[in-house]
Amino acid sequence: MLGLVAAIPGCYRGQGDLDSAADGGDESGDEIGDDGVVDMFCEEEVLPASVSRFVRLTHRQYDNSVVHLLGVDQPPGSTFIGDPAIAGFTNNADQLRVNDPLARDYRRAAEDIAADLVADTPRLRSLLPCEPAAEGCAAEFVAEFGRRAFRRPLDAAEQAQLEAVFAGGAGLYEAGTDFEQGVAMVVEAVLQSPSFLYRSELSQPAEGAELVALGGYEIASRLSYMMWNTTPDDELLAAAEAGELSDAEGIEAHARRMLDDPRAADPIEDFHRQWLGMSKYGGLAKDPERYPEFVDGITDAMTAETLAFTRRVILEGEGTFAALMTSTESWVDPALAPIYEVEVDGPGPQWMTLDPARRAGLLTQAGFLASHAYFGGSSPIHRGVFVQRQVLCTDIPDPPGDADLELPPPDGELVTTRDRVAHHTSADACFGCHKMINEPGFAFEGYDAIGRMRTEENGVPIDSSGSITTEQGVLEFSDGVDLAHQLADDPQAQRCYLTQWFRYASARSETAADACTLDGLHQQLREGDYDVKELLVGLTQTASFRYRNAQGEQ
């Protein structure tokens, strides 16, 4: 279905000529002008932002890749020195570097993986395209494994060099035949090579050109790591070889194929885990007297619930942003049953439908509510800040260092949390920001510090009403469910979700050069029902996905 292409007027799709030395680039039919290329979503020419040509694999991608390539049983990524987060995402290309500790981790991992492989004859044999005794089998193995691991065919020099590495491996391991040791030696070397560890974009611009159309293999790498967080499968590599990835339609076809595969769940979970700040769940502590239901292991159940929800909604269910914000399906573990006030029969989690009057999507799930709450009570301020920053992409600064972060205790007229927060943030110096923060936070006052519903606090009925201003104007709401439903269709919230995905999928923050494209894709998604798979496919159709800005390369 090529609806994406047909919908945009004014997008030239005839035969154009391209200046590109990359393979397959000549048939894409894009119009390249003096200022860039006509992007599918933007009626102007777009010069994509300059990005790195070497994007290191994240640890998750490393793990998935070695499992895919070698059937590794216990991938080592969790022992690697961690990557810092930028704008909430740990896969930012600028931060993905190899310093001394990580180089050691990679070496240790490669040596362990090779040693395990040479001791596991059946697994090693399953990687071979030929019988070891057959003539030229070493060369054939090198060519095929090299192509899969480097995500492109080896050139003659690489082939020769890796064959020499193979030959030199005999006698260097504690087990295996000479042939098997050769295999292990190649694996050990390849896993430390930059051509494996980085997604490298090697196509060169033609003389004087600023723009390079990425070659088929480069597109294949981008697609497989974006859609599956792992190396391209044989089908994708074959498509690259056949030139199928040189135009937008070919890319789209494979993007859709990949989204229909269960492997698509990996980046979807990883993205939501980071966007929602789920790594905080594990460290939560709650007052055991007020919340005896907050038992050991409950945060694992909360994490599992939200991740299963995102996977199910996007890959199996309605698939829309609105569904993420409003669906009442829940993967309820018995530990969560008291929070959601349902009965779970059996010892394990099961899918249930929660009461739509009480729950709506991600913002009323236990993990979100509990991680944006205090040890002893709810926190409208944290919840309000999350709605503004993460759901609406509003720039809300941190509180000043001399702000008194301690709420006044309940006393006299300050009965509820809402009273106390409103009073404490009412000073002029505070209210400038807090007028944006407080009310979206109050919307969730109907849920306590562990996410359970409540209708009163200290004897006073809960008031979750309020308003929030988005680009479309003032939204009045009566409670959290109401707010979630309104945000589900709000253009600012949709655009923010798109932006967050752009950051994760592109491994960089957006720049001014991306604005026109993202606006255009946003409009197109709004004309549909803001389907998340369409969002992901759309990201593969942009100029910055398919072209590289070669300025500044010497």
């Binding site: 990557d83 190899v98 180089a103 030199g168 491996g169 070397a189 205090y374 040890f375 926190s379 260092g401």
Partner: protein
């Protein structure tokens, strides 16, 4: 390619057993031949989070000679035996200063973590440091082949700006290793008691890998690359080349922990290393490794970070049985965000924690004192600094920082003193003793020189140029 090692000094190991360990020639300032008293000088940071109980931390009595008596009854009491080796400066403040004063980003925990070894502001957005930290600066100048500083941690790690004190450069945090077994393996290179045939094979494999990887890099770098990409690949290639150095030591005498201790490290459950229950055990293992790494010349700078900013364990050992973690107690509250109830007696609990850390600092000093280098102890050739995120934790205070310095650093610094660094009457000020001057002093004490071979004038982007002369011998 092997390096010739000269057997010069005997080093006494952690079990009191003399190990015949060579003084590595490469440790000496470049171009200088070894001579008596010319031992290399090192810097160690022992970093504690969350501030201290200021009312009971410092020595009692007047400034001047420091005695065990002055330390009695204070948090420093466990360090009484080392009075003659210590220097406790008063009146130093962090730069950039606390929130709202210097117009730089970050709350006081961000500043407490980021500025302490850098004197650089936080970068808007990531809140990571805008520049390099003093330990990495020392490593760049003085470590063999520019090997980075040894950064170790105890407890849970954070991947936000609260998780790091050391930076390779702007927005490049150095992730600390919190698994002592992995740290030890890295440091050890090929490991103890390895069969020579196994070693030979490993070396051959590593040489084969290095050749391939180097060629791969050369092919990639031959293309037209942006400056940023070139730097990225160069950093990786340098790191890989550093690994080669371990191979150079293959087959020669290597520094190692006693077998029983190494076995304890190997026996650690990697899933438990960051649990509160293991905090003390891991901390002591890390200190053993740190001291060994310094003694063996593996590095000239090392940091040990206990916990993360605004973190810390719940202390339930060595006479403490707290119900709340260090950060909560530093605020005297049952919750990290002050939303809970007051914790009565929290000041005493903080005092107990501070005194416990003093005991661990003492353990580190014991390890450093156990190694002899010529006429001196390794301790004397180092400046080992117990430092903190904050001073008063509850107030998120950045003034009158608690510092405890040990060792004369090869005779550069005074020792055995309780000393006022600020010229102001009240030590609690942000006027004239910015902490970047302490970092400058440390750089010069260790022997870093600027491009023309002169002493370092000014480290960091905030504060003042110059050293704290009053601390120098």
């Amino acid at each position: 390619m092997t390096r010739r090692m000269h057997r010069r000094n005997f080093l006494r190991g952690v079990g009191g057993v003399a190990l015949g360990l060579p003084m590595l020639e490469a440790l000496l300032p470049r171009g200088v031949k070894a001579a008596a008293g010319d031992a290399p000088r090192r810097f160690v940071s022992f970093f504690q989070c969350n501030g201290v109980n200021m009312s009971r931390f410092f020595p009692t009595g007047d400034y001047g000679a420091l005695t065990a008596g002055m330390m009695g009854g204070t948090a420093l009491e466990p360090l009484g035996d080392y009075a003659a080796d210590l220097m406790v400066p008063r009146g130093i403040h962090t730069v950039p200063r606390g929130f709202g004063r210097d117009g730089t980003p970050g709350d006081d925990h961000a500043k407490g973590m980021v500025h302490k070894l850098t004197a650089q502001p936080c970068v808007e957005g990531s809140l990571f440091s805008a520049g390099i930290s003093v330990d990495q600066e020392i490593a760049n100048h003085l470590n063999d082949s520019g090997r980075p500083a040894l950064n170790l941690q105890v407890g849970r790690r954070s991947d936000s700006h609260l998780g790091y004190i050391s930076y390779y450069g702007a927005e490049q945090p150095a992730v600390g290793e919190n698994n002592p077994w992995l740290a030890y393996q890295d440091f050890m290179g090929l490991g103890p008691d390895v069969d020579p045939l196994v070693t030979e094979r490993l070396v051959a494999r590593r040489e084969s890998v290095i050749d391939l990887v180097r060629d791969d890099f050369d092919r990639l770098r031959a293309r037209g690359l942006s400056a940023a990409d070139r730097e990225k690949l160069d950093m990786h290639l340098t790191a890989v080349r550093d690994l080669e150095i371990d191979m150079g030591a293959a087959g020669l005498v290597s520094c190692e922990l006693p077998a029983a201790r190494a076995a304890e490290l190997q026996g650690l459950d990697p899933n438990e290393i960051d649990s509160d229950g293991e905090y003390k055990t891991i901390g002591r293992m890390q200190m053993d490794i740190l001291a060994l790494a310094l003694a063996c010349g593996s590095t000239r700078a090392a940091t040990l970070q206990w916990g993360s900013g605004a973190g810390g364990p719940i202390f339930t050992w060595d006479g403490m049985s707290h119900a709340y973690n260090h950060h909560k107690l530093s605020h005297g509250n049952t919750a990290d965000d002050n939303s809970g109830a007051d914790v009565s007696g929290y000041e005493d609990m903080l005092f107990d924690i501070d005194q416990w850390y003093a005991g661990e600092f003492r353990y580190l000093l014991d390890r450093l004192a156990a190694y002899q280098e010529g006429d001196c102890r390794l301790l004397d050739n180092c400046v080992t600094v117990w430092m903190n995120e904050l001073s008063d934790g509850r107030g998120h205070d950045f003034m009158d920082l608690p510092y405890v310095m040990a060792g004369s650093c090869g005779g550069y610094l005074r020792t055995g003193e309780y000393i006022k660094v600020t010229g102001e009457g009240n030590v609690h000020n942000d006027v004239d003793a910015p902490h970047n001057m302490l970092l400058t002093t440390i750089l010069n004490a260790v022997g870093v020189r600027d491009d023309v071979g002169a002493p370092v004038q000014n480290f960091g982007a905030y504060g003042q140029p110059g050293e704290f002369d009053v601390l120098k011998a």
